[in-house]
């Protein structure tokens, strides 16, 4: 029995030694184990998920940049939406008290979305938009001025904003779904966070479109200069989205 451990040790040491000698050492510690993923997708198999069976879909640099700007825009958008409703509410409610529950409901939902995205931004270490203070002022002004024009104008503003935001979320959902299809083709699967985010985006998109329906139901189409008003607001939204994607 005695020689067995010794034998084993010899065998082991014999195996262990030649390996480092052939590979240059600095490669081992300078290529972090993590950065090898990019070069070879197969290396990331079974990277600790609950599913276990399928390997994880590895995000490329472009996809990360997409997520980066998408989350930044979403946070800025929800911030603006919250502030718009907050600025509209006092004036609308004063003239039309029956709209109080609706305004509160929409505001609460937007505040919930903002909280979700603030959390995601912090979790994924994403830079918030540099225009943050500018959007705060712009959104408050937009909400206040449309409410000053009357209930119809305020609802037209909601309609315009929610149309843009809804289609924007739709684009993001479509993009993530295309990744999912790509992953399917490779025999991989998206990680839990992305799946959860996909569900969140869908839920939020549906809620935004529900606000759109509320706005139309409350005579948004009756706003007096309807076309110019809606066009200007939509153009402003699109510009803000483009800017927030970059900075």
């Amino acid at each position: 029995m005695l020689p067995l451990p010794i034998l084993r040790r010899c065998a082991l040491s014999h195996c262990r030694h030649p390996a480092p000698a052939t590979t240059p050492i600095f490669l081992d510690f300078l290529v972090p184990s993590t950065s090898k993923h990019g070069q070879c997708r197969q290396a990331s198999t079974t990277a600790g998920t609950s599913g276990g069976s399928k390997p994880l879909y590895v995000l490329s640099k472009e996809q990360r940049e997409f997520m980066d700007s998408a989350l930044r825009v979403n946070q800025a958008g929800e911030l603006a939406a919250t502030l718009i409703y907050k600025a509209q509410t006092p004036q609308i409610v004063r003239s039309y008290p029956h709209l109080r529950p609706l305004m509160k409901h929409m505001y609460d939902q937007e505040a919930g979305h903002l909280k979700t995205f603030n959390h995601l931004i912090a979790k994924h270490q994403i830079r918030p938009t540099a225009m943050y203070p500018a959007w705060e002022v712009a959104a408050t002004f937009l909400g206040w001025s449309t409410a000053a024009l009357g209930r119809e104008a305020a609802m037209a503003c909601t309609e315009a904003v929610e149309t843009e935001i809804g289609s924007h979320y739709n684009d993001q959902v479509r993009e993530i779904l295309s990744w999912e299809a790509d992953a399917e083709r490779r025999g991989e699967e998206l990680d839990e966070e992305l799946k959860e985010m996909l569900a969140t985006f869908r839920r939020i998109r549906d809620e935004e479109l529900e606000h759109l329906d509320h706005a139309v139901a409350n005579d948004s189409k009756e706003a007096k200069p309807y076309d110019p008003l809606v066009d200007v607001i939509r153009l402003g939204c699109r510009t803000a989205i483009k800017i927030s994607e970059k900075i």
Binding site: F29, L30, K36, R127, A148
Partner: protein, 288 residues
Amino acid sequence: MSYLARTLPKRVPNPFLAQSIRQTRALSTKTLQSTPTTRTTQHKPRTNQRHRTYHSALHARLPDHSYTNSQTAILTSALAHVPTHGFSATALTLGARDAGFLDVSVQLLPRGEFDLILFWLASRRGLLRGKVEEGGLFRRIAAEKGKDVHELSVEERVRGLLLERLRMNMEVKDVWQDALAQMSLLANIPLSLTELHALASDILTLSGDDAVDATWYTRRLAVSAIYASAEVVMTRDPTPDLVETAAFVERRFEDRKALADKITGIGQCAGFGWNTAIGLGRSWGLKI
């Protein structure tokens, strides 16, 4: 791999260096998999200008810089000569020799000494991250203050990390002024600032800062400014454990806090006045 074996020197680098570089997570070498083509263009070490993208615990961190294997080999062994020869061409040449390259292969680094400085900065940043991720650093900082790790505030963590990073400069303290001069050359300023921002950002993220609004920017700006000025003070600090620099950093953080408090106070006061005016107007029946 066979290509690597051919191009890279057989000798094993200095074990001390291996130790000191082990956790340079911020860096990566390019793994050359395909058969190499003859390259005529010089390969500049690439720097990700967009330092921080989507980060997830389930996905690997993308490296901020990428070096080829030969560049890494030369730079790594050149670092050993920095305390004596400074961030100079001499150090690079000696490093190339140590790594088994010809003297002329220093030309693999088109930015010359500045590449060495960048490598130093990036690798120290990686080391700092490694120290935190191993978990020992915050425990030590907490122990110095006589607290538990969980009681450390974000502010204290930031301060501790910043001082730790400054102490990493100890061995090159005497030659650091030259490096600062190099970094302040017009052509080098963008990359130096990127690296400074990356450091500030890393320090704040590692400390658990979760700003999601405009304070994200002001905090990074403040940490960058404090670090950059503390580096200058450090080069003239004769005390053994950088006591004077630590005191300087302490004072700057006090200043920052005083300034931040003042600005917050002014903002609150203005907001209160504004809201009062609006509310008063509404109570008078104005349609605002």
